[in-house]
């Protein structure tokens, strides 16, 4: 493939976005959606071509590179608009455009609400813009271009979360997402600055050059394990915690579910949120130099996975469950890259994109069918009414809980095993001897069990048992304030083929995605470790060792995890299918009240941030900075000086300029006396 074609990959969706924006209201849902889907499909085609080119070269072709033009050139900052497609990029491109195209297609069916008819063009324009930005993020050959994409996807996320902007809460959710991401960006930028200056004369922002420089001269950033490189890695990771919704910046993602469900599927599950993992993978050579940072990443990932899972267990909003599930799965991916299993982490990115997109789209189909009802307590028994949707959802469910043979099984298992087997020295958060990998494995395994529970709970509550839905919705989850009459608030029914066709494709991918990278114990020529081999050159500069555990333990541990997962499924089945009647009481008996409420209220993290950060900052800004510092101190000083001058003037006028001529003469005489004295004595 001609590298020049790389430029077309992002160009198509950008063109689509512009075209749709130009057509605006003249473009109906189908026209706008058609254009958008077409554009992304073209990108997808090119992406697969790219992948094929690279794959078929068997490592002979390290990467494709194409420079469009010089973007910024000042001093040491020499940045081009240039695209780099190495194996990592190529896979990611395919995921983004492939899944993206499916979701675009799905959206054409999904966005059929007559109330949105005037604004679906906006939806598709944003969506195309998003794909463009995402492609910039992954294809940019340098930090700044990546950052353009990085922030660009944030922008689209902001716009799409707030797509139904008339609802103030939705608009706020968009804002929250953007600002929380900005906190991460702040960290990212500082890390970038630090890296740039550390390189001194060799400063570069290009990934390829940076890799070369650091491999050749690791001492520039303080050498392996150096403080500087650790700081840089941690700060860059700080950026990732924002974009990829990790502790402590995960709070925006659940709120982001305010956006239309395809958006949740595309942006907040399959693609954008994984960019943190992508970034770390891209910079694996740098992160590998900072074991402490790797330890932090793995730990944060594991803890996020666990923490989000605890919340997901009690949520009743189907999208919220999926949102926390996403956070949790992202944690897994960080755990993977944190322990140095970059391929495994990235593999999970890919499989997760399949099954989580599927889950969201399936949920979207359900919501669509239920007329914007998202509360699972009002669902139930939908499998019979929505066979295709239900069926595909079940596939996704199997994948996400890690049922053997599904894509999720392979990717999750690889992460868990490599975590267990990781050399403690390469994630030396608590020193090289501390058995952090084992600890993380335990967290990971527990999380896997919890995942199985809450995902089963979701599936059971939604598709099994009796239908609990009343008539339409009345809980305010609807997105329109103005009347959005549901004359047709009948029973749920299967969605149109436009929507279920993508589900079916994704279901296939969820099932068979594991073929991409079969574990070593299933030997199939060309498939075993395929992704691993393909990505090897990318991660070659970040050698990691996984001989921290006896390899004979691999299968027994897998079995253990599997057992835990199945147990969880059973519990869920018991609670939600066997005894569906007392959904609430059962849990009250099972778990202490505080834990239940904590989980239900997301451990009050939002409230905590509100009380400790947002409120104080606003309060201080308003009551201290604005009211006191600005108005009283600074401006007070200015006005006070002016007032004082006027007062002096007045006092002078009253006391000195009395109008009595002899006062004046007296002052004159006194002045004379002083001067005379000065000259008589001082002369």
């Amino acid at each position: 493939m001609n590298p020049a074609l790389l430029g077309l990959v992002p160009a198509f969706p950008l063109f689509g976005a512009i075209l749709i924006a130009l057509l605006n209201r003249k473009a109906s849902r189908v026209v706008a959606g058609g254009i958008a889907t077409l554009m992304v499909s073209m990108s997808a085609a090119l992406s697969f071509w790219t992948l094929a080119t690279l794959w078929s070269s068997h490592g002979a072709l390290e990467s494709l590179h194409h420079r469009l033009y010089e973007w910024i050139s000042v001093g040491g900052v020499q940045v081009d608009i240039a695209f780099l497609a190495d194996p990592l990029t190529a896979v990611m491109m395919c995921v983004v455009t492939g899944v993206g195209a499916l979701i675009h297609l799905y959206s054409v069916g999904y966005m059929d609400d007559p109330a949105d008819a005037q604004s679906t063009w906006r939806f598709f324009a944003y969506l195309n813009l998003f794909v463009f930005a995402m492609l910039l993020l992954i294809m940019g050959d340098n930090f700044l271009l990546m950052f353009v994409g990085w922030e660009g996807v944030g922008l689209c996320s902001y716009l799409l979360i707030g797509f139904w902007y008339k609802n103030t809460d939705f608009a706020k959710a968009g804002k929250k997402a953007f600002i929380t991401n900005r906190v991460g960006d702040f960290s990212f930028l500082i890390g970038l600055f630090m890296l740039f200056w550390a390189l001194g004369d060799q400063a570069t922002l290009s990934f390829v050059e940076l890799k070369g420089t650091l491999v050749a001269q690791p001492e520039l950033v303080g050498g392996h394990g150096g403080t500087l490189v650790t700081a840089i890695a941690l700060l860059l990771f700080g950026g990732a915690t924002g974009k990829s919704a990790q502790i402590p910046l995960f709070v925006w993602l659940p709120d982001a579910m305010a956006g239309p469900t395809p958006v949740s599927a595309l942006i907040h599950a399959a693609t954008m949120v994984t960019s943190g993992i992508y970034m770390i993978s891209r910079l694996s050579f740098l992160f590998a130099m900072a074991p402490v940072a790797m330890g932090v990443i793995a730990t944060v990932g594991a803890l996020t996975a666990l923490f989000a899972a605890t919340i997901a267990m009690t949520q009743t909003d189907i999208k919220k469950v999926l949102a926390y599930s996403t956070v949790s799965q992202l944690g897994y991916m960080f755990l993977g890259v944190g322990v140095g299993a970059f391929t495994a982490g990235f593999f999970h990115v890919v499989t997760h994109a399949f099954f989580k997109a599927l889950l969201f789209l399936g949920a979207g189909a359900v919501i669509h069918a239920m007329h914007h009802e998202q509360d699972m307590r009002k669902m139930g028994g939908l499998l019979s009414k929505m066979k295709i949707t239900g069926g595909t959802m079940l596939v996704a469910w199997l994948a996400i809980i890690g049922f053997p043979g599904t894509s999720g099984f392979f990717s999750k298992d690889e992460i868990l095993w490599l975590t267990f087997a990781a050399d403690p020295a390469q994630l030396a958060l608590f020193g090289p001897e501390f058995p952090l990998p084992k600890l993380l494995w335990i967290i990971g395994a527990i999380t896997a069990a919890m995942t199985a529970f809450y995902m089963s709970r979701l599936v059971f509550m939604t598709f099994f048992g009796a239908h609990r839905g009343g008539h339409g919705h009345d809980d305010g989850h609807g997105h329109h304030d103005d009347a959005h009459g549901h004359g047709h608030g009948h029973t749920p029914h299967e969605v149109s083929p436009l929507m279920w066709a993508p589900l079916a494709v994704l279901a296939l991918l969820s099932l068979g995605g594991g073929l991409l990278n079969l574990p070593h114990w299933i030997h199939v020529e060309g498939l075993t470790g395929a992704l691993h081999h393909f990505l090897e050159p990318v991660f070659a500069a970040a050698p990691m060792s996984f001989d921290g555990a006896d390899s004979s333990l691999e299968l027994p541990l897998m079995g253990l995890t599997l057992l835990m997962i199945l147990t969880s499924v059973f519990i869920a089945w018991y609670l939600y299918v066997r005894n569906p009647g007392d959904l609430v009481q059962t849990k009250d008996e099972l778990v202490p009240d505080l834990l239940y409420r904590g989980s239900l209220h997301k451990w009050w993290v939002d409230e905590l941030y509100e009380a400790t950060l947002i409120k104080p900052i606003v309060l201080v800004s308003r009551q201290v900075l604005w009211a006191v510092v600005d108005a009283e101190l600074v401006d007070g000083a200015v006005n006070g000086a002016a007032k004082a001058m006027r007062r002096i003037s007045e006092v002078y006028g009253e006391l000195a300029q009395t109008g009595r001529v002899q006062t004046y003469a007296m002052v004159l005489a006194a002045g004379t006396a002083v001067i005379v004295f000065a000259f008589a004595v001082g002369g």
């Binding site: 009595r660 002899q662 005489a669």
Partner: protein
């Protein structure tokens, strides 16, 4: 007079000058203020004459004559102004003339 040296003359002049100045500063009657100014000018005249004698020049004496002429003109204008004041307020007490101030 021959026996009188420079310094007694100057001393007298200074005393007269000071008396005049104090008069200007303290007396409330415009006329007396006017007279005090004349006193000051004459004190200077005394000094001129004293210096002239001391230096053996005539210049100082001539200056005194000039000063007298000027003083006369000044007194004329001054008296006219006092009259003007009196026409407005029927008094020449300076305390009453504080329209302009501040």
């Amino acid at each position: 007079m021959d026996q009188v040296g420079l310094y007694p003359v100057l001393f007298t002049s200074a005393v007269l000058f000071t008396i005049g100045a104090v008069g200007v500063l303290t007396r409330r009657n415009a006329l007396i203020v006017l007279m005090s100014i004349e006193l000051m000018l004459n004190a200077v005249n005394l000094a001129f004459v004293g210096f002239a004698r001391h230096l053996g020049q005539v210049d100082g004496h001539v200056f005194a004559v000039f000063v007298m002429a000027v003083a006369a003109a000044e007194a004329a204008v001054g008296l006219a102004l006092v009259l003007l004041l009196f026409r407005h307020k029927a008094t020449v007490d300076l305390e009453n003339f504080t329209l302009l101030k501040g």
